[in-house]
Symmetry: C2
Subunit: 229 residues, 2 copies
């Protein structure tokens, strides 16, 4: 059985925009592993029944099924110990950076770009997305992102811990990327894939680092559909 990664998309199967799926896609590339893309959409719950899970990414690797981007990264280092390591120490000692991405970066991004997503989805997915996110935010999605250009300085200030590290070294992992880079970069592939909002300013060390990440693995992420932002 070929290796497969179930990845979130909308009507265009090439525009894969999940921050978690991007973490796994970059992790696979770092390990030098191919994996067929299986496009998955929000309402395709039946397609994941085999995994007893309701979210992506889901990795199918031979007879192993692994759900959750963190578990996939841990699995890849265990299953392929000879390939470049994703974790430069025990995985549990590397949780803070991905957790900061989940706890701080993702919610801040959602407030800036959530309204860009429904137009990219089919009717059933759009209905699901709008209803669930409006419930979460307690308002219309257009209201969430209203006046978003004015909120960009606050968003860029949130990136300051990343910026401080990247002023002194090429990657969060040091001279080469590691899973910390893929977690943060994967998170930023979400807005890049769905929104024209220019989040990062040229001259920002975070912008320069994102450029380096876009170039990795033959431009894997740079060649993905984006709004160029």
């Amino acid at each position: 059985m070929a290796r497969q990664l179930y990845e979130l998309c909308g009507t265009d199967p090439a525009r894969r925009f999940s921050p978690y799926c991007w973490r796994s896609r970059m992790a696979l590339a770092h390990k030098g592993l191919e994996a067929e893309v299986v496009p998955w959409r929000f309402t395709d719950t039946a397609a994941l029944a085999f995994a007893h899970y309701d979210k992506v990414p889901v990795l199918v690797d031979g007879d192993r099924t692994v759900t959750d981007s963190w578990a996939i990264a841990v699995y890849l280092d265990e299953a392929y110990p000879e390939a470049p390591k994703l974790f430069q120490g025990p995985p549990e000692s590397q949780r803070f950076n991905p957790t900061w991405c989940d706890a701080v970066l993702l919610p801040a991004l959602a407030k800036l770009i959530v309204s860009d997503i429904p137009p990219l989805l089919g009717a059933a997915d759009a209905a699901y997305f709008i209803e669930s996110r409006e419930k979460r935010f307690g308002m219309k999605l257009a209201e969430v992102t209203a006046g978003r250009e004015a909120k960009l300085p606050e968003f860029r200030a949130l990136l300051h811990p990343l910026r401080m590290v990247l002023r002194g070294q090429a990657f969060l992992g040091g001279v080469a990327p590691d899973y910390g880079d893929f977690a943060a970069f994967g998170t930023l592939m979400w807005p890049r894939s769905v929104s024209p909002l220019p989040l990062l300013e040229a001259g920002d060390p975070v912008h320069a680092w994102r450029e380096r990440m876009l170039d990795l693995f033959g431009g894997l992420a740079r060649s993905a559909p984006s709004f160029g932002a």
Copy 2:
């Protein structure tokens, strides 16, 4: 020459309150290394002339002088490779957590506790501290911290990335502490040493983790002078 660590204090040499000195003190204990405390005060610039530096911590280890808490931690793992590691991977891959402490946690704490510090200092240090910090904040220190109890929920929300990691494991380092723990804990020893403000709530996983950290090395940090908060 005995090993010495220059550590910030005020009139009471036992009340050492620098977040950076606490990082180094805990790091030394993790390595199983003794180091004489050399009390240092803000205006003792002459005492550090030998190190060509104007801040603490400064570590003197035989004929080596190491300035800056990060450099001290890197030095300790290099100089004492047989002792327990501070970094479970290359140090540069572990910069995000300490940097987050510097960029996010410390400024947030300063706004809550900066006015508690001058009463602990001698006259010359207090004058220096008040002038430099009032200049930084652009207001009187009492104005900075006015109404601080009302700002505690916002501060506790900032700790969420720590909290999410510590819900699932005993230490940021995993089953045992590493430098990430000492960076975050050392930062929290600053308010504990100078302020009665109750920053952490019982029941918060961050509180439970701080209790574990206070117990390490025979209660090294717990036995330090504090306001019990």
